[in-house]
């Protein structure tokens, strides 16, 4: 069995790519959160940039559209003083594999230092990290259903800043878990950081078989699933990824799983409500809750820049130490 971390870690355990939260140590995840915290303070001052990645070139390689995620990565790169290039690549219907390899070869000629990759195939970021020249860092901005590690880490940071340490917390993730790369990354991170229980709530058609093997407890009922919850994470109902016959209607989904004030009352009185966005009001969450006092959804967005700055800095750092000659400090 191949350890996924033989690809994303250097020999001494530093990040050289950021592909998945799976298998990363508690120490390393905590280091990402701590580093992100220090970037949050730089975001609050007049000059929001630090010169850390000055002279480096970052390429946003998005094979799947996403204005939100792409612009937060762009902003994060700029605030690290890096040069950023945005490439939106429409995937051709034929010869997909060759197109990906050819794209990579063409890009390598541009001497980039980092690719931020979003792709609709699970394992694509992994594939690129293995194929690309050795000194390019790969940041996974989402691959198929597999992972969205920067989103998961900003969610962890949100929990830490609003509810304290993740250790001992009960966290519920609600909605289309089957197709969700965010949920998978969140589950790994929550488990590693010591959450007391990670629950997934949804209809049988949207919870993957064997989700327990990932350490999450499935619930089909909001009342039972939200009892004693410290954190409720609502997922977007991903209409574009659903095949037919998974749900009868948005209306029935909202009735059973939509987060209303009434359902939120099943959770702890001081529970926080999160959502990776964009929100479908009236489908997975009602406005009163999305805009209400328990919601930290807007904070998630600002933490997103800091987390991405942290991960980009750490991965670039790991790549640098691989390349540096042995000179004394």
């Amino acid at each position: 069995m191949t350890d996924p971390n033989t690809v994303q870690l250097t020999e001494d355990g530093r990040l050289k790519h950021f592909l998945t939260t799976e298998g990363l140590s508690r120490e390393l995840l905590t280091e990402i959160l701590d580093t992100a915290d220090s970037f949050i303070s730089t975001q609050e001052r007049a000059v929001k940039t630090v010169p850390l990645l000055r002279g480096k070139t970052v390429v946003n390689l998005f094979f799947e559209n996403s204005t939100r995620t792409r612009s937060t990565f762009e902003l994060a790169a700029k605030r690290l003083s890096a040069d950023i290039l945005n490439l939106d690549i429409a995937r051709s219907a034929t010869s997909k594999g060759e197109t990906l390899m050819d794209t990579l070869w063409n890009l390598e000629a541009m001497y980039s230092d980092m690719f931020v990759v979003r792709h609709s195939d699970s394992g694509a970021a992994h594939f690129i990290a293995e194929q690309v020249t050795p000194n390019v860092a790969i940041i996974n901005a989402g691959d198929g259903r597999h992972a969205h590690p920067t989103q998961a880490m900003l969610d962890m940071l949100t929990i830490r800043r609003h509810k304290g340490e993740i250790e001992g917390k009960v966290v519920a993730i609600v909605g289309d878990i089957l197709h969700s790369r965010v949920a998978r990354s969140q589950i790994h991170a929550l488990r590693t950081l010591g959450a007391a229980e990670v629950r997934v709530i949804g209809p049988g058609t949207l919870l993957p078989s064997d989700i327990e093997s990932m350490g999450a407890v499935p619930f089909y009922d909001m009342k039972a699933g939200l009892a004693d919850c410290d954190v409720v994470i609502m997922l977007r109902l991903q209409k574009e990824r659903m095949q037919n016959a998974l749900l009868p209607s948005e209306g029935e989904f909202f009735k059973l799983y939509g987060l209303t004030e009434e359902k939120l009352a099943y959770a702890r009185p001081d529970a926080i409500v999160m959502h990776p966005g964009p929100i479908n009001r009236g489908v997975e969450i009602e406005s009163a809750v999305a805009d209400g006092s328990h919601s930290v959804i807007l904070n998630q967005v600002s933490y997103g820049i800091a987390v991405r700055m942290a991960v980009m800095a750490m991965a670039m750092s790991g790549q640098q130490t691989l390349n540096s000659s042995e000179e004394p400090a």
């Binding site: 530093r14 280091e31 701590d34 580093t35 915290d37 220090s38 970037f39 949050i40 303070s41 730089t42 001052r45 007049a46 000059v47 940039t49 630090v50 010169p51 850390l52 800095a313 750490m314 670039m316 750092s317 790991g318 640098q320 130490t321 540096s324 000179e327 400090a329």
Partner: protein, 164 residues
């Protein structure tokens, strides 16, 4: 080699800083310590000087010039400065000055926070070997080291020097 008595030097330095503040008319100065040793020294000086603000801390990890060689330091803690440093008289404090690169990074960072009225540099120990044209306004003691020797400040209480 005789290592200087840090506790004693710090006491003397506090007096010198106080004199400098009067001479240069540094009203309501902001003491800024550079992590980690500079923060200990700044806090010790503040016990005598009792400036109105708390000691601010500066983490220069994001401004170092050796990122290409050594990458990011794993224990980045971030800087903690007041909301505005506009027009403030800053007394920048570090434990040891050697090449001058740390101070260069610290000043770059301070200017990303705002535009101070002035910066005065106070160092506990000057071990020479400058690589940049940067000199402390006040210095507790000088020390000449042999090739390959390094000093380290331990603290916060008691403050002491060890040779590495």
């Amino acid at each position: 080699m005789n290592l200087p008595d840090i506790e004693q030097i710090t006491q003397e330095l506090a007096g010198q800083v106080s004199e400098m503040m009067t001479e240069r008319q540094l009203d309501n100065p902001l003491l800024v310590g550079i992590r980690t040793g500079g923060v200990w020294v700044a806090e010790r000086l503040n016990e005598t000087l009792s400036c109105t603000d708390e000691v601010a801390t500066l983490d220069i990890s994001f401004y170092r010039d050796d990122f290409t060689r050594h990458g990011l330091h794993p224990k980045v803690q971030g800087s903690e400065l007041p909301e505005s440093i506009e027009d403030r008289h800053i007394i920048l404090i570090d434990d040891v000055i050697m090449s001058g690169r740390t101070i260069r990074a610290a000043m770059n960072e301070l200017f990303d926070y705002g535009r101070p009225a002035s910066i005065s540099l106070v160092c506990l120990l000057d071990i020479g070997r400058r690589e940049l044209p940067i000199q402390p306004d006040l210095c507790g003691a000088t020390l000449a080291l042999n090739d390959g020797q390094l000093v380290k400040l331990t603290g916060p209480r008691p403050l002491a020097l060890t040779l590495a």
